[in-house]
C-alpha cells in the first residue's frame, strides 16, 4: 500500500465484510455486502469521497442519501460506513 492510502476493514456482526480504501482517487468500497440497486455503488463511493466530519453526521448523511435515492443496503448499516470512513480520515 502506497503512501497516502488508507484501508479499513470491518466484519459487521451478523452482517457482511466491508473494505474501505481511501486514496487520492477517492473512496473505493469492496466486500461481500449487498446493495440494491447494484449500480448505485459508484454514487455511494462518490458520496463517501465527499463526506467528512464526525461519524454521526456522516452516518446521517449516508442514511438520508439512501432514503432519497431509494438505495437499500443488506449486510451493513450507514453507521458502519461512517465509522470506517472516520477511521480512514483520521
Amino acid at each position: 500500500m502506497g503512501p497516502g492510502v488508507r484501508a479499513v476493514e470491518r466484519k459487521v456482526p451478523g452482517g457482511k465484510l466491508l473494505r474501505l480504501r481511501l486514496d487520492d482517487d477517492g473512496v473505493r468500497l469492496t466486500g461481500d455486502f449487498f446493495l440494491h440497486p447494484e449500480d448505485a455503488i459508484a454514487d455511494l463511493e462518490a458520496l463517501l469521497t465527499r463526506l467528512s466530519g464526525d461519524a454521526d453526521a456522516m452516518a446521517a448523511a449516508i442514511e438520508q442519501w439512501m432514503a432519497e435515492e431509494g438505495v437499500v443496503a443488506v449486510g451493513f448499516a450507514p453507521s458502519d460506513l461512517a465509522v470506517m470512513l472516520a477511521e480512514a480520515r483520521r
Binding site: 457482511k16 465484510l17 473494505r19 468500497l29 469492496t30 466486500g31 449487498f34
Partner: protein, 243 residues
C-alpha cells in the same frame, strides 16, 4: 402465470451468469418466470458484484487449475463452483411475486432449498442473511438482485466438497474467516446418500410446488443474447477485474 423450468445444464461460468441475465430480460419483457438448476464446467470461482477479484481469489492458482473467474451481478461473497460438487439454482420472476421485503424473500427461497433437503432426509436451518446450514455448517449460499421490476436469486447446494481446491482458490480475509461458524462448510454427501438424479427432482418439487409450470428450453433468441453477454460482459476482463 405458467412458470418455465429449464433443463439441467452445465455451462462455463460466464455463460451461466449470462443466461441468468438473459432470462431476467425475458421476464421483464413479459416472458415466463423461470427456474433453472445447473452446474459449472469447467469449475469456476464466482465473485460478488462488489468484490475485488485480486482480494478474494488466488488468480495464479485458478490459471494453474483451469478454473475460470466470473463476476456476478449480485452481491455476496466468492464461491468456488466445483464441476461435480454442486447444483446451482436460479429463480427469476417479476418482483411482485416475491414482494419488496428483501430479507423475507431470502427466507422464502431458502425455504425451498430447505424443503428439498428435508425431502432427502437432511434437516437444515436458515441462517440470515443468505445461508442455509446443517448442524451449524453451511451447505447453501445465495444472492439476489432486483432490477427494473425483475427478481433474480441464485444460490448453491453443495453435493460434495473439494476442500483442498476451495482453500487453494479462495483467499478470504481473516476477518471474514473469523465470522464463519466454527464448523465451516458441509455438503449433502456428508448427510445423505443422494445422487444428482434424486437431488434434482427434490429441488424441482420444492421450487415449483403450487405453481403451474412446464419444461422449456432457452429460445434461440435467448441463446444468442446470452452469447452476446458472454462477449460483452461476463467473459471480459474489463468486467471481471472492474473492482
Amino acid at each position: 402465470m405458467r412458470w418455465r423450468l429449464l433443463p439441467f445444464a452445465a455451462y462455463r461460468g460466464a455463460m451461466n451468469m449470462a443466461v441468468d441475465e438473459t432470462v431476467a430480460d425475458t421476464v421483464r419483457a413479459g416472458g415466463p418466470p423461470t427456474v433453472r438448476f445447473y452446474a459449472w464446467s469447467p469449475g469456476a470461482v464466482s465473485i460478488g458484484a462488489f468484490q475485488s477479484a485480486a482480494e478474494e481469489v488466488d488468480l495464479d492458482e485458478c490459471r494453474r487449475r483451469g478454473v475460470e473467474v466470473v463476476r456476478r451481478r449480485t452481491g455476496g461473497g466468492a464461491v468456488y463452483h466445483d464441476p461435480r460438487g454442486e447444483v446451482t439454482y436460479s429463480v427469476i420472476a417479476p418482483q411482485a411475486v416475491f414482494g419488496n421485503d428483501i430479507l423475507a424473500s431470502y427466507r422464502e427461497v431458502c425455504g425451498y432449498v430447505m424443503s428439498a433437503l428435508a425431502a432427502l432426509g437432511v434437516p437444515s436451518e436458515y441462517r440470515p442473511i443468505n445461508d442455509i446450514v446443517v448442524s451449524g455448517r453451511k451447505i447453501s449460499g445465495s444472492a439476489q438482485t432486483r432490477r427494473e421490476g425483475v427478481f433474480l436469486m441464485h444460490g448453491t447446494v453443495l453435493l460434495s466438497i473439494d476442500r483442498e481446491a476451495m482453500s487453494s482458490l479462495l483467499t478470504p480475509s481473516p476477518a471474514k474467516a473469523a465470522g464463519r461458524p466454527a464448523g465451516g462448510v458441509t455438503c449433502l454427501a456428508e448427510h445423505a446418500d443422494a445422487s444428482l438424479d434424486e437431488v434434482l427432482p427434490a429441488l424441482r418439487e420444492a421450487f415449483l410446488r403450487g405453481r403451474r409450470w412446464e419444461e422449456g428450453d432457452l429460445t434461440s433468441e435467448e441463446e444468442a443474447r446470452a452469447q452476446e453477454l458472454v462477449r460483452s460482459r461476463y467473459g471480459s476482463d474489463a468486467w471481471t477485474f472492474s473492482r
